[in-house]
Each structure stands twice: as C-alpha cells, then as structure tokens.
Amino acid sequence: MIEVTGLTVRFGGVTSLDGMNVTFESGTCGLIGPNGAGKTTFFNVLSGFVRPAGGKVQAFGENLLSMAHFRRARWGLRRTFQTEQAIDLLSVYDNVAMVHEHSKLSGASRREDVMGAISIVGLDSVAYTRVATLGSGQRRRVEVARAIVGKPRLVLLDEPAAGLPDEETAHLGEIIRSIPDHTGAMVILVDHDMSLVSGCCTRTAVLDFGKLIASGPTAEVLRDERVVRAYLGTEEVT
C-alpha cells in the first residue's frame, strides 16, 4: 500500500504538486490527468529524482523519501520513463540484467529471472540483440522488462504506450495486466490512452493542477463529472 500525504513540489514559483493526498491500495492503479497536472513529477518524487518541499510517502510501511534514489530501485521501486530510456549500447539481456548487478542471487537464478522478464514482454528471440537495432515498440518493452525483473514491489509506468500504434498498445496492455500475477508487484500506470487505463487498472486516481480531484474504481472515475470537465471532455457536441 502506498500512502501519500500532503506531498508538495515547487519549481521556482510553479507549484507542481500542491499538498497531494492519495492512497494506492494494491493491484494495478491508474493515474490520469491533463498535461502538467503533476503525474510525472509524482513519479519523479517517488523514484527520488525530485525532492519534495513537503509531505510524506509511506510505501509498504517504509518511509520512501528517506532512501537514496538508487537504493529505492534496489528496494524494489522501479519505473519506466515518458521518453523511453533503453540503453542502445547494451543487448536486451544486459539492459534487463543491469538491475541484478547488485543482487545477491547466484548466476544461474539471475539468468533465469532475467530471461523470465524478457519472455514476459515477448522479446525472447532478440534477447542478445543490441537495443540500438530494435524498433520503438520493442524498446518500450525492454524498459518494461527492466522494471519487472528481480521481484519489484512497486512498478511505475510513465506513458508506456505513448507513440505506439494500436496493436502494439494492445500487446502492451496484456503485458501490463500480467505484471501483478508474475511478480506480485503493485503497478501505477500513467497514460493518456483511456482504453489502456480502463483495461489494466481496477482503480484510478485523477490529478489536476497538482491536486487529487477524484479516485475510486476506474469505471466510476471516468464517469465523474469533475474528471470529465477537467480532463476527458465531453464527446457530444450540441
């Protein structure tokens, strides 16, 4: 369970997160909102790239904000990035195995774990290919594999479907839905593709101007009047 209380982030005069309060229970949760609402900033705070001006984050009983960023990753907090960050110079395998550099697992079980993650995202056939030669959809999946290898506790996916064609997005949706079963991790998904969010997430929270404006079961949230006004817009044109 992730409990966020009073989280505030300011960049100069701009308040990006404004006393955000939210609780993510378990399973796969969505986090949506218009551009600039503070979704990525929230991920950056959780993963340690941005230091908040105030607030607390309790993750599975642990005070997350007191850990150095690379230690959070080793503790089990993983993420992907809005602009995909697979490492070109390394093979798919080495990209994923990066996470295991500091684990105490034996070589054989490491290999098994890495190959397992690669096969969940369906990249078995290119496991030893350099990432530089892969297409954008495959690169996204390399990043997802890196986020789910090695027993993570919390996986943050930042717009994993951005720029992907529909069939790739559908495939990605299947992968995301399978993450909790394969790893037992909690997933928070940020995306603008509402079919992906509603297909993957049982519950969803909505941010607007750095504040939580709604949260609950995904279907209800997407019908919520405030959410429609702030983000989704109305389809009927009168």
């Binding site: 690379f70 990753a73 960050q85 990066m98 996470v99 096969s119 056939s125």
Partner: protein, 361 residues
C-alpha cells in the same frame, strides 16, 4: 544448471543461445593481437633508429594516457581537460620515490598509480555535480593550478626535503631506470609491456560490471539510477581508473625522460590530448593507440623532416572538426570503412553499371 534452465523454457519459443565468452573469433583475435605485440617488441627496436625508438616509447606512454581519457570521454561521457596535469602528478610521485628509495621500479609505478588515483579522484568530485562544458572548464582550471604548483616546487632532481629539488645543484643525477631496461630499446620494450598491462586492466573494467554501468550512465543517468546503479560510485570509479593508468604512465615517463622539468608539462597538452583522443576514437581502445601515435609520433616525424611540430595544432583542429562533423567514432572506426569504400569504388570502375547498387548499403 544449464539443463534446469532449458527445462523451464521449453514451452516458450526457444531463445537463441547466449553468446559464449570464449568463442573462436575471440581466440583468433587474441592470437593476432599477441603476435602483433610480440612483433612490436622484437622487430621495432631492430629496424628503428634511436630517435624513433624514443618517440615510440612516448607513443606507448601517451597511448595509456589517451586510454584513461577515453574511458572518461567515450565510456562515461565525462570530458576532462586535466589529464596532462594528472600525468605530471604521476611523473612527480615516481621521480620522488625513485630518488628517495631503492624500491623496485614496478613498485614505484604501482605507488605512482595509486597516489595519482587518490588525487585524480578528488579532481573527479566536481564531476558528480556537473557535466559537459562546466566539467571541462573546472578540470582545465585544476590542471592550470597543478601546473603552477609544479612550477613552484619543481620536479625532484635528487635534492632533499619533500620536494626533492635542489636548485643549486651543478651535476644533476638522472632518474634511474629498471635494471632490465637500461638502454633505450630495452626501455621501449618495458614501456610497451606496462602499456599492455594497463590496456588489459581497462579491458577487464570495460567488459565487466563497471563497463555496463558506464554505458548506462553515458546514455541515460535516470535509467541507470532507476535500475539501482550507484551512479556516483561508478563515475568516481571511472576517474579513479583513468587516474591510476595515467599515474602509472607518468611513472614510465619519468624513466623515459630521465630529467623532468615543469616546463614540459603544459596545460595546453591536456587540450591536445582530448583532441587526439576524439580523432583516434574515444569509443574504442584501439583509438587510444592511434591517439598516442598522433600525439607523439607525428611531431617526431615533423621534427625529423625539419618542420615545426607547432603546425600540428592546426592539423588537429581540422581533424577534430572533421571527426565531430562526419566521423564521431574516430579514425579507428572510419578508416576501415573508408578503405572498404575506396576498394568498392576501384572495383566498380571496371563494371560501371552495378557499382551504384553495391554502394547502397
């Protein structure tokens, strides 16, 4: 363990086998390189004049310096403009120890490497907070500062005290060389062997865990952090490794030159070093050797034919411009491609029509 692995993956599409570490290609390359090194060790001192043997000793030394800078620039993406000063520190420490103690030369080299590593890692501290132009500026200023300090305390010349410098000395003793490498050809071989050991040391790092961490840091520090890589540690590690090999190279330089003067270590050399490393190819270890040749053999040749080596500054300027605009991987990568292209062109002259199709890929 391989069988257990296979059992779990049978239902899925069978993945291609992991590339084995010791395949035939690697063995062949190792043999070719070993034969090449032996040829350099045995043949070069036979066919070259003493003048060019000395020049090649300098090439061996500066290849190692370029190798260290290549780790920083090519592997981690940290631009340092202070490596000539780091080299001077290594030379100073080695000279001081050689005058003050009777330690074997190899021990002195090791000590010079370790002490330079500690100081060089301090230089790396600003790198934790900055990159690019600002890091370059800071390291350049530090190099300038070290040059000033060395100019005032001077290089050891057999005197007493911490600096080991005696300004009133009439007969200045030479810095000693290892017993097995008294003559210039022998010392050339010694320098090459030390250089090979340094290349192997760096190769171990690049192929291993630090190399993968550096690759991640170079392309995306956020991704490295998100995978749990301690980027601070690995950046300092790169500075430590680069300083160590540069310090050892400084130790070899002390014995090669026999007399060290602070005027020979110019701040500008650090800039030239970066230029030749970029020209040689910062992403490849072979590039370091090309860089060493550019930096030390080319001036020797110009001197030999009666031209001032100062002209090289202009040539290097043009070379860097060319590398940055058309061949970012440097000469080691570009030259074979150019030769292949030239070969295709020449081959295509006979049969005009299909030439265009072949050139396409």
């Amino acid at each position: 363990m391989e069988t257990a692995q296979a059992a779990t993956t049978t239902e899925r599409a069978a993945p291609p086998p992991a590339p084995s570490r010791f395949d035939r290609d690697l063995l062949l390359r190792t043999v070719v390189i070993a034969v090449g090194i032996l040829a350099v060790l045995i043949v070069l001192p036979q066919i070259l004049s003493l003048y060019y043997i000395d020049a090649m000793t300098q090439v061996a030394i500066y290849s190692v310096v370029a190798l260290g800078l290549g780790v920083l620039v090519g592997r981690v993406g940290l631009v340092s403009l202070g490596q000539a000063a780091v080299l001077a520190i290594g030379a100073w420490v080695a000279a001081r120890l050689l005058f003050a103690t009777g330690l074997p030369y190899e021990v002195v080299l090791l000590a010079a490497g370790v002490i330079t590593m500690l100081l060089g890692t301090l230089v790396g501290l600003p790198a934790l907070r900055m990159r690019g132009l600002y890091l370059a500026l800071i390291t350049l200023m530090l190099a300038g500062a070290i040059t000033v300090v060395l100019a005032s305390i001077n290089f050891p010349n057999g005197g007493r005290g911490f600096s080991g410098y005696n300004g009133s000395q009439v007969h200045i003793p030479a810095i000693r060389r290892p017993g097995i490498a008294q003559t210039d050809p022998a010392y050339f071989r010694y320098a090459v062997v030390v250089g090979v050991v340094m290349f192997l040391l760096v190769l171990l790092h690049v192929r291993g865990r630090p190399g993968r961490a550096w690759a991640a840091i170079r392309q995306s520090e956020p991704a490295a952090l998100a995978a749990g890589i301690n980027t601070t540690l690995y950046k300092l590690w790169a500075f430590a490794l680069a300083s160590f090999v540069t310090g050892v190279a400084g130790g070899v330089l002390a014995g090669a030159d026999k007399y060290l003067y602070s005027i020979d270590f110019k701040t500008q050399d650090s800039i030239t070093l970066l230029a030749v490393v970029l020209m040689g190819g910062a992403y490849s270890m072979w590039g370091a050797i090309v860089a060493g040749l550019l930096m030390q053999l080319l001036p020797a040749i110009l001197n030999d034919i009666g031209l001032s080596p100062d002209w090289l500054t202009i040539l290097f300027g043009i070379g860097v411009l060319q590398v940055l605009t058309t061949a970012p991987t440097g000469i080691v990568d570009q030259l074979p491609k150019d030769i292949a292209r030239l070969g295709r062109k020449i081959g295509g002259l006979g049969r005009r029509a299909p030439a265009r199709e072949e050139a396409a890929p």
